[in-house]
């Protein structure tokens, strides 16, 4: 036993140093170099610049709470869409806090737009708190409000949502979804049109 321990010391120490250099430094640094060279935009976080300032990442969600934009989902990341504190709510299925939160959100939505079923993703928090997407139903649900506040033709806004729906690959890989930042940027781009 003692001989086994003694004979292990040099390999254990030297191999730790060698593998630390190879796997802990050389590998991630090499991948960083290659990634920055081959896919610089993605490696940097898929950032979107508009008029000289960064307005977001096409991959990561951001908070939209004003009436003139399509809203993202409720978020449990920090105070909402905190990019330094990703998190879900972690509330269990029989949690009173969850039931009260969802009930309150449903009530608010139904007061604003009575008589329509609320899409479930619009009142549930995502796993990351940074979900960039909403379901097509959740986007269509908001068309009336956005068109009204922006004084836009309802059909035009609906068409915009229609164009923004991403479909599953091969029909089953992924869910139909709408990237909210991308949709809102398109919305800003069309500007105001007179309502007939």
């Amino acid at each position: 036993m003692n001989r086994d321990i003694l004979s292990s010391l040099r390999p254990a120490l030297v191999m730790t140093v060698l593998f630390a250099l190879l796997l802990g430094l050389a590998y991630p640094l090499a991948i960083t170099g290659l990634g920055q060279f081959l896919f610089p935009a993605q490696a940097g976080g898929s950032l979107i610049a508009e008029r000289g300032r960064i307005v977001g990442s096409s991959v990561v969600g951001q908070a939209f709470v004003t009436e003139r934009y399509f809203h993202t989902r409720p978020s449990a990341a920090g105070k909402g869409y905190d990019g330094l504190a990703s998190s879900g709510s972690n509330l269990g299925p029989a949690s009173r806090v969850l039931a009260e939160r969802v009930g309150g959100d449903i009530h608010a939505l139904q007061t604003a737009a009575p008589g329509r079923p609320v899409p479930s993703d619009l009142v549930t928090t995502s796993a990351s708190g940074l979900d960039p997407d909403i379901s097509p139903e959740a986007a269509f649900y908001q068309v009336d409000r956005v068109a009204r506040v922006r004084n836009l033709d309802r059909a035009a806004v609906e068409a915009l949502v229609e164009q923004s729906v991403e479909r599953p690959i091969l029909g089953f890989l992924g869910e139909p979804r709408v990237n909210v930042l991308m949709l809102n940027r398109r919305l800003d781009a069309i500007g105001r049109k007179p309502v007939p």
Binding site: I31, L91, G92, G174, E175
Partner: protein, 567 residues
Amino acid sequence: MTYQGWLLIAAFVCLLLALVRPMGLWLFALYEGRRTPLHAVLGPVESGFYRLSGIDPQEDQSWRRYAVHMLIFNAVLLLLTYLVLRMQALLPLNPRGLPAVGEHLAFNTAVSFTTNTNWQSYAGESTMSNLSQMLGLTLHNFLSAATGIALAFALFRGFARRSAAGIGNFWADMTRVTLYLLLPLCAVLALFYIASGVPQTLAGSVDITTLEGVKQTLALGPVASQEAIKMLGTNGGGFFNANSAHPFENPSALTNLVQMLSIFAIGAGLTHAFGKAVGDARQGWAILAAMMALFLAGTAVTYWQEAAGNPVLHHLGLGGGNMEGKEVRFGIAASALFSVVTTAASCGAVNAMHDSFTALGGLVPLFNIQLGEVVVGGVGAGIYGFLLFAILAVFVAGLMVGRTPEYVGKKIESREVKLAVLAIAVLPLVILGFTALASVLPAGLAGPLNKGPHGFSEILYAFTSAVGNNGSAFAGLTANTPFYDGMLGIAMWIGRFFIIIPMLAVAGSLAARRHTPPTAGSFPTTGPLWTGLLIGIVLIVGGLTFLPGLALGPVADHLAMIRGQLF
């Protein structure tokens, strides 16, 4: 449930089955120490490593020596990570100037990554510098996985060798697996992840002004290089707190599919490598069949429950499946499938919050870990865990027909059965013992976020995850306290090495034994009867002890949920 959802599950299983043979043959080549095409490039690195550390890769080690060398190496690695985390503030590549990681958290994290658990009591983006992620954590992701595969090779040799004194060389096994399997595959996967939108940069964060004019700071870092090995090595420790639910770790349905396949690829391939090693590929397929049956049953239950949704929310007028704690791009099916894959293997990465699953949807991940993660399982750990169950299964079969049990040409005697029971008993003993303790001590009761039975589930899940070296969580539990960091750290260490050592002892005693050719009276270990027996043993021996605990947690939670009783 939708047919698209089932199509995804079917596609996943088909792709996995297509991977088994090529992965198995590659692993078998490494097991035998054969030359691969990659030797032309990486061969000099391998021999250079041996020369510098004074290793003779031809030396055949006894099981004791194999175990001691593995343990000492892991202890040194543990120390390195502890030091890197503690000295984080003084070291470079810390763009956001994060302070040193606290004592009990650094201990917990170092144990966690050494044992392939990757339980995280911390949130990556607010705790770890880029250097800590790379040198402290990515390093372990490789080496804990390579250690697991090396240990599986050692047990294979126990079955395959005849009257042999040794079970191979730990250093050679571990180095070859790292250089010729993990590193090249991870390089390819990492580039794929970057192309798909996973960041890979030395920057710490970027400031954004949103369309509404609010400032948002996004954490960045060398994510893709860690993501690749995190999944392939069934480690599961996320770069970010939200793990594979974070859009930067898992940006699309395609990356999600690749991540799920990465989790299972090596574990499933090892069943084939085992079959090849004992000279009968059907032995490997029989094991995989039992694993797949258990896997599909679990997937069906979780998918069904999550798609059925939460009656409490239905009562409020919200239709459809349970979307609390799930991402839109994955939806119900891919979240349910991922949760079963990650807990069937000992990965522990999550793309949805298990804590917010329906009660029975969340029971399956918990139960998967309690079965010992032998449904495909962690890289190496899954197959050696399953072979321990196989030893018990031939023993039980032997009792029923009144013959000496044999398995793949080796007589199984009382020593092996005792050691297998010893290894398997570790799980219920530590999981239930520690959970019981935490459920009565004030320091333990301070942890759960949720009240009622779900709070108990959070504690039970934490110790299950730690002892099973899984690393996923009912993440509402506040675990970064001296009590939980300490207890979970000890639980992870026991859960890893108290299984490995009896397992290596089994390998040693089997290797020394003569070959027993099968006779007409031998119990066949390939057909459906055997597969059924294996499933039964896993469920009865592995699962039965946990039923009372599950009744107090998820089952009580389910009954409350359907009655609309809130906590």
